[in-house]
Amino acid sequence: MSKGSKHKDKKFGMVIDLDKCTGCGACMVACMSENNVPFKENESNKLDSITWMRVYKLENGKSFPDADICFLPRPCMHCEGDHGHAPCVSVCPAIATDYDHKTGIVSQIYTRCFGCRYCMAACPYHARYFNWWDPVWPEGMEKLLNPNVSPRMRGVVEKCSFCHHRYQLALDKAYADGRDKIEEDEYQTACTQACPANAIIFGDLDNKKHAVYSLKKNPNTFRLLERLGTNPKVYYHSSREWVRRAGDNYLKHETTKA
């Protein structure tokens, strides 16, 4: 592509500051509300509870009073793998999930997915969720449904989309205004927007003007399970060494990646 091309590919990603994340769960609710995620009367079985954004509670394994905990929000990592060869994308037999090289977003087509769950087996982050049940909204609550996201039927896999529909809406708006580019703040995910601690920063990882560009270069920044070669687009920041170490697997003698 020639220099100064208008339609440079984007690579959307996140930098989540774990020093700031308080584990309040606002991102989870914002995400569920934005994306028409269903809810059941009993959601205490976390292996059957759809949470595109899930906040994990990490413990340092030490005993009182040296114990420490850290919260870690886990959206879909939108792995780039090797040239878009994300763990889940290449295994999907029906191209129901795909890596979009224009945005770096791993998409999921619910009407295409036939529920083989191979992608779930492939994802080491447990970011993919299966609709074990028909989604049911109690009477009146179907009014809450966001028309920009289609509710999923039983028997298909779903996951975080980086609120891709918001990107579409932003592009549509820009187009209507006669612009061909959107600004950083025009496309933000629901969780980013909702985080009361501003712990989640979202933007184009390749765009020098976007906050994530420089944030991701901080030496205290790491990604989850980097050593597997998943090449995720969600970065984490923590000033605590044990948290950074918890981000990946290390042999006992190995030092945590700086």
Partner: protein
């Protein structure tokens, strides 16, 4: 042609082959797939025009400016308001407001209980019936036997209720207390006026929190989170002093575990060191000219709060205490936070005073990064209600809760005393009770006792929007609109200044509900006479417009009107006249310093149960939305079982393993629980989240876990009379 078996078979085979090669199976295959993609039982959201409406959230005392995303006339989402000014922010509860709006547990019409069953009635009928009953009471000179419990003490709606009681002739307007009431006492004792403190956390460089749930729902959570993030950006320190590794403690730079209930002792010990080492002199404040009673205070702490004694009482190491003091006093703009957890339990007055002395010694009042003092909003300037003889007779009766009198001279309202008062008399001293904006049968400590007491009251009117625990015990319910359906003024703070926000209806009321402000005005009008005269407004909207006057235009535009005059300016400059009093007659009257202990015999109950607050579990009048409950970890709730956190070492002593079931007994009650082994809790302490164990509401919440208030009793703070219980003694037995 003879149709024999063979030709029949051939025909069948031919037909099958023909069908297989026809487009039919392929068409069917395709159609069935399309059917699965459009299953009629999977709802399709109706599309429409998207719009955003700004309003002020009143689900917690934070009063955040939020924005509501609508599609045509339905609410689909609550979002953070995209604005740096004002009080914009959102938390998990605010984000849940659309679900709460459309919740199946909303009360859809006014209801009347007839022989234990709810019957729909009209607003008119309900108002008429209540008015009739009220008239009868008045006839019998029993107007003072009307009481009202209001969840909030600020804003026009509580003011209307209070006004109604006065005009009707009852002194028994009672608000649900919170830490804010004690804050006011702290400053009315030390500075002579009930200032509300605002802590400038964002600009501080050393924050010491004495169990304050800065990141667990305290104050305005959204602003607290923002401030904490700024602290982190600026690489400033947060120290958390608390028995349990709460979310706040986990985010702190240092967590200092302390025996619960001894935080005040630690603060006084720290004050002692500061005075002993004359560290306060470094603070460049004209100490002598702005304080009083310092010498007496100095003597007092020197006598009883030596670092050695304090270390023993609190369980904090001596060197940790001295290091903490040094860091605190070395900092440019240190601040000490007080008020336990999210602040729903008022807490010990002396404990908070003790911590606040640290602020005084650091001289941080009205300084950047310090404590700022706001006076109560005074934008409601109504003329006094007109009182007739009955009313005059009634309001001069003694308050039932005893507030403002004798040993309770400091408090204005003492809801926690009500159950005892009710239970100690044969017949109920309350003949009618209004409950608005609160759910006392759930939120008050010792729920069983509360229930017994309130069951004596012959007639209860609930104004709740939800079929909560209190509403289900009422006789008549006049359901309020949800905040997204109504106008209301919301008292808040913008930055470090007092402000009033305006909640605006985002959608038309979806059910046959009535604004509580309207309800009061209509009841007053139905009563006639001076009471009606005292409520001359046509309806609540008219009342609100008149009250807010020109401020309303600002609020319409900016959501908040900031009260520039509500900031207390003492100590800001050398000429200011305010004095900080360490000791004075009033303080002496409260017999400093006494800190409350947990109820129960140590022998019988070797453990101590404390409550913890979580952002993911709403524990006040507003209860969890289904989404919020979905975020609750499986180490807190599993199926319907609640977990108590316990140190693995303590668990081993009681033969408990992670997840095992146990019977939890306290002097107040018993409950079956499961245990969760947690290294972040002190040995001998067990903790349980507040906000679970609802019996009201819907299937997404009801029956999950235990209401901790059933296990904990209230403990009257000897200084203030407010509930100061921070825990209770307990025992766990494996089952």
């Amino acid at each position: 042609m003879k149709i024999d078996r063979r030709s029949f078979l051939s025909l069948g085979a031919g037909a099958t082959a023909g069908l297989a090669f026809s487009p039919l199976p392929w068409k069917l295959m395709d159609d069935s797939s399309i059917w699965t993609q459009n299953w009629p039982w999977v709802p399709v959201p109706t599309d429409g025009e998207a719009s955003y409406v700004d309003t002020v959230c009143s689900l917690c005392p934070g009063g955040c400016g939020i924005t509501i995303r609508k599609i045509d006339d339905r609410v689909v989402k609550a979002e953070k308001k995209d604005s740096d000014n004002a009080n914009s922010g959102i938390c998990i509860l605010g984000l849940s407001s659309p679900q709460l709006l459309y919740s199946p547990s909303r009360i859809k019409t006014p209801l009347k209980k007839i022989e234990g069953k709810w019957v729909k009635i009209s607003v008119k009928e309900a108002v008429a019936e209540i008015a009739e009953k009220l008239k009868d009471l008045r006839k019998d000179k029993l107007s003072h036997t009307l009481a009202c419990i209001s969840g909030s003490s600020s804003g026009t709606v509580p003011a209307l209720f209070e006004r109604f009681l006065k005009a009707y002739g009852s002194p028994n307007f009672i608000t649900v207390p919170s830490v804010k009431d004690v804050y006011k006492l702290v400053f009315s004792l030390s500075l002579g006026s009930p200032y509300v403190p605002v802590f400038d956390i964002a600009n501080s460089d050393f924050v010491v929190s004495f169990g304050t749930g800065l990141l667990d729902g305290w104050g305005n959570p959204a602003q607290a989170f923002k401030a904490h993030s700024i602290l982190k950006d600026n690489k400033k320190k947060l120290i958390q002093i608390e028995a349990r590794l709460s979310n706040t403690a986990a985010k702190a730079d240092k967590w200092i575990p302390i025996k619960p209930g001894t935080e005040g002792v630690l603060a006084l010990g720290m004050a002692n060191i500061i005075i002993e080492k004359r560290l306060y002199l470094n603070k460049n404040i004209l100490f002598d000219s702005v304080t009083e009673g310092f010498e007496e205070f100095k003597a007092l702490v020197a006598k009883d709060y030596s670092v050695k004694a304090v270390a023993e009482i609190t369980g904090v190491k001596q060197e940790d205490i001295t290091a903490l003091v040094e860091d605190f006093m070395k900092a440019q703009s240190p601040v000490a936070l007080f008020g336990r957890g999210e602040g729903t339990i008022p807490g010990s007055l002396h404990e908070m005073m003790a911590v606040n002395f640290l602020n005084a010694l650091a001289g941080n009042f009205n300084k950047a990064g310090g404590v700022h003092l706001l006076s109560d909003n005074s934008y409601i300037n109504w003329t006094e209600p007109i009182l007739d003889d009955t009313a005059y007779y009634g309001i001069n009766k003694k308050r039932l809760d005893g507030a403002g009198d004798g040993k309770y001279f400091l408090a204005k309202h003492l809801l926690n005393r009500l159950p005892e008062v009710l239970n100690s008399s044969e017949t109920s001293p309350i003949n009618m009770l209004f409950v608005t904006d609160s759910n006392p049968f759930y939120t008050m400590a010792d729920t069983k006792l509360v229930r017994e007491a309130f069951e004596k009251i012959p007639f209860i009117v609930s104004f709740s929007s939800y079929m909560d625990e209190t509403a289900s015990m009422a006789d008549i319910i006049l359901p309020n609109h949800f905040f997204l359906e109504r106008y209301q003024d919301v008292v808040a703070t913008c930055g470090l200044k007092p402000a009033v926000g305006l909640s605006k209806p985002v959608v038309n009321p979806i059910f046959d509900t009535i604004h509580s402000g309207d309800a009061v005005i209509f009841i007053a009008k139905a009563l006639g006479g001076t009471i009606a005269e005292s409520f001359a407004w046509d309806d609540y909207k008219a009342c609100l417009d008149e009250t807010l006057e020109a401020k309303k235009d600002i609020m319409d535009k900016e959501l908040f009107w900031v009260d520039e005059s509500g900031v207390f300016n003492a100590f800001a400059d050398a000429e200011s006249s305010g004095k900080f009093e360490f000791i004075n007659d009033k303080i002496r009257q409260t017999k400093p310093y006494t800190f409350v202990e947990a109820e129960g015999e140590k022998k019988q109950y070797p453990l101590t149960l404390i409550r913890f607050d979580s952002m993911r579990i709403a524990s006040g009048y507003t209860a969890n939305s289904p989404f919020m409950t979905k975020t609750v970890a499986d180490t807190v709730i599993k199926e319907n079982d609640i977990f108590v956190e316990i140190n693995p070492k303590t668990a081993a002593e009681y033969n408990l393993t992670d997840g095992s079931k146990a019977l939890l007994t306290t002097p107040k009650g018993k409950a079956q629980v499961r245990v969760h082994l947690y290294e972040g809790i002190m040995q001998g302490i067990i903790s349980m989240p507040s906000g679970l164990g609802h019996s009201g509401y819907d299937n997404y919440l009801a029956g999950k876990g235990i209401n901790i208030n059933e296990l904990i009793g209230q403990i009257e703070d000897p200084a203030s009379g407010f509930d100061a219980a921070w825990g209770i003694r307990a025992v766990l037995v494996r089952v």
